[in-house]
């Protein structure tokens, strides 16, 4: 084949758009990394050393990770059975539930947090009496953490629900459920041993998105007074130049590691190993 013929066969425009897209994503990241390394030419990693040396970084980072894990866990417990039941028994309710899960896109986080503070900053009493059942959730640390996890669940609902729902769509859950029932399985067994393993990748995708939202979230954490990673990064950005760039890059890396883990767990098939 001649050089010209090969040139004509070369998918020029496909490569052009691919490289343009890649540059769009890579350039800002490159700029961030380059900036984070430019603090001290003698010690390019100074911004990273400073960031990792700050005890507030570790405290806020670990707290956010803990909150993210709690949110993921609670979301899975809430969303998987809900999406499963809607697909199996209440398909007519799907549109309503989908609409509800999209509410966080419509209602800003600031409204959500003020609503939460308004309701949960007063003690729980027996209606029409002054008997207090529980003190305000905003008044103690565990209560605030419960509130913020609930808020994160709402914020991550569109991503988690849609991921799980898409996962459920890829398996014939009705027939699998009936097959398991005919073999004597209870609902708990069906969900834990049949449904969950078969939507593992979808759940991991939802979990990753939830993780990304929670770790970077500022509004809820700031207004509820939770010393999470988002407010820390925000505060740092206002007073420092190089460390926020370094930490932003670290956040990217974490996300990539998480995505790599998903690929590893799913065997690169986009679905649970063994399911086609």
């Amino acid at each position: 084949m001649s050089f010209l013929a090969r040139l004509r066969k070369f998918p020029f425009w496909a490569w052009f758009w691919f490289l343009l897209g890649a540059l769009y994503f890579i350039l800002p990241l490159y700029a961030t990394v380059a900036f984070s390394l430019s603090w001290d030419p003698a010690d390019p990693f100074k911004a990273y050393e400073r960031s990792f040396g700050d005890s507030r970084f570790w405290r806020s980072f670990l707290l956010s990770n803990g909150l993210a894990l709690a949110t993921i866990f609670a979301s899975i417990i809430l969303v998987v059975p809900t999406a499963y039941w809607i697909r199996l028994k209440l398909p007519q309710a799907r549109r309503i539930v989908e609409f509800l899960t999209l509410m966080p896109f419509v209602v800003p986080a600031i409204i959500l947090v003020f609503g939460m503070i308004r309701i949960y900053s007063t003690p729980f009493t027996i209606p029409f009496t002054d008997i207090v059942l529980m003190r305000p959730l905003t008044n103690f640390s565990l209560g605030t953490n419960i509130l913020i996890v609930a808020g994160y669940m709402v914020l991550s609902m569109p991503y988690m629900y849609r991921s799980v729902d898409t996962g459920l769509r890829t398996v014939d859950i009705r027939t699998l459920t009936e097959a398991a029932q005919s073999l004597g399985a209870s609902w708990f067994t069906i969900v834990t041993r049949i449904i969950l393993p078969n939507i593992r990748t979808a759940m991991l995708s939802g979990a990753l998105l939830t993780f990304a939202i929670v770790v970077g979230e500022v509004v809820l954490a700031s207004f509820l007074g939770v010393p999470a990673f988002g407010p820390y990064l925000f505060l740092l950005g206002q007073h420092r130049a190089y460390e926020p760039a370094a930490l932003s890059f670290v956040s990217f890396l974490l996300t990539w590691v998480a995505m790599g883990l998903i690929q590893l767990v799913s065997g690169g098939q986009g679905q649970v190993a063994g399911s086609h």
Partner: protein, 353 residues
């Protein structure tokens, strides 16, 4: 003795009646097929036995125990689905052992039973394969083993061979029948394929529009269909309108052509209009031997169908199909030739509406 009994079963979905007044007694070890076109209610009836649908009326009992309202996981009924429904996250052995694990049987017992089932379906070497690594036929054999592993009271099969190609379908249906007979298990099989139902079943329930049309052995269903629907649905059929001339002698008149039939004429009288039916293979050329009915005919078309040759002839104003076995010595007339066609009086059936 009745093993499974369905009494006056009906099922409505809103205004739509899916199954109407269904009654059936199934003996232990019997293989019964529900045969009918799509939407006739056969799968709905099967799903009611499995517990996936609750009847709107009537009762279902298994071993004299009313199971009408019992949950599917408490019925001990095994089910094989058209789409295999193997658990994608489990190996073949795990799939087969799932029902036993759910029942909390001992690990050693589960292992033994799984091995036994694997040997029954001749798939010992595939124990650690995942469903996606198997062919359709293998997947359905695993699904069968999984359903049988729990030693169910009744095995339900919902069009299990529909998704398979013709060759595998034939070999697997023989395997299903052989396993069912060997284990002596009661089986209910849903299909729209008459050949499957005829070759597998001890009895066939032909269904149409939610109702039972006829229940009988394959021989009875094929040779003595009682309704026009059954006759048309099971096998090929020539039908024609005729008038009863003499019920005591079984004499009929079809457009001026005299016909004799040994059919039961009870309740019919002279002058009644009826539908007569003759199977294509019951018609033959007069040269092959004279029978009670002889007709003048004209050859319209000849089609070779492999082992069978189908000859279409005009008898009077009506076109009839005639099937004859293909053999090297077969001598056939040419298209347009006049010929004589014959059939026995037993071959002429009179159908209900």
């Amino acid at each position: 003795m009745t093993h499974l009994a369905l009494r006056n079963i009906s099922k409505n979905f809103g205004d739509f009646v899916a199954v109407r007044d269904f009654n059936l007694d199934v003996k232990k070890g019997e293989f019964v097929s529900f045969l009918g076109p799509s939407g006739c209610g056969k799968t709905t009836t099967l799903r009611m036995i499995a517990g996936f649908e609750i009847p709107s009326a009537g009762t279902i009992s298994l071993e004299s125990l009313d199971i009408t309202e019992k949950a599917p996981n408490q019925r001990n009924v095994g089910m094989v689905f058209q789409s295999y429904a193997l658990f994608p996250n489990m190996t073949v052995a795990q799939n087969i052992g799932f029902g036993l694990q759910v029942r909390k049987e001992k690990e050693s017992d589960i292992k033994d039973r799984v091995n036994e089932m694997l040997s029954i379906i001749h798939m010992e070497e595939k124990a650690n394969s995942y469903p996606y690594q198997l062919s359709g036929g293998q997947m359905q054999r695993v699904a069968l083993a999984r359903a049988l592993a729990i030693r169910p009271e009744v095995l339900l099969l919902d069009e299990p061979l529909s998704a398979l190609d013709a060759k595998i379908r034939i070999s697997l249906r023989a395997e299903i029948r052989s396993i069912q007979q060997r284990l002596g298990i009661t089986a209910i099989y849903v299909t729209h394929d008459q050949e499957e139902a005829l070759s597998l079943s001890d009895r066939i329930v032909v269904m149409n529009a939610g109702e039972m049309e006829q229940v009988g052995t394959p021989f009875e269903i094929y040779n003595f269909p009682t309704t026009r629907f059954v006759a048309n649905f099971v096998g090929s059929l020539n039908t024609a309108e005729a008038e009863i001339v003499d019920p005591s002698k079984g004499a009929l008149d079809m457009d001026g052509i005299r016909l004799e039939s040994t059919n039961d004429f009870k309740g019919m009288s002279k002058g009644d209009k009826v539908t007569v039916a003759i199977r294509p293979e019951r018609l033959s050329f007069l040269s092959e031997g004279k029978k009670e009915n002889v007709f003048d005919a004209k050859v319209e078309n000849i089609t070779f169908l492999g082992s069978v040759v189908r000859v279409e002839v005009m008898i009077g104003k009506r076109k009839f199909s005639m099937d004859t076995f293909n053999r090297p010595s077969l001598s056939l007339p040419s298209i347009g030739d006049a010929c004589k066609v014959t059939c026995s009086d037993k071959a002429v059936l009179i159908l209900k509406a």
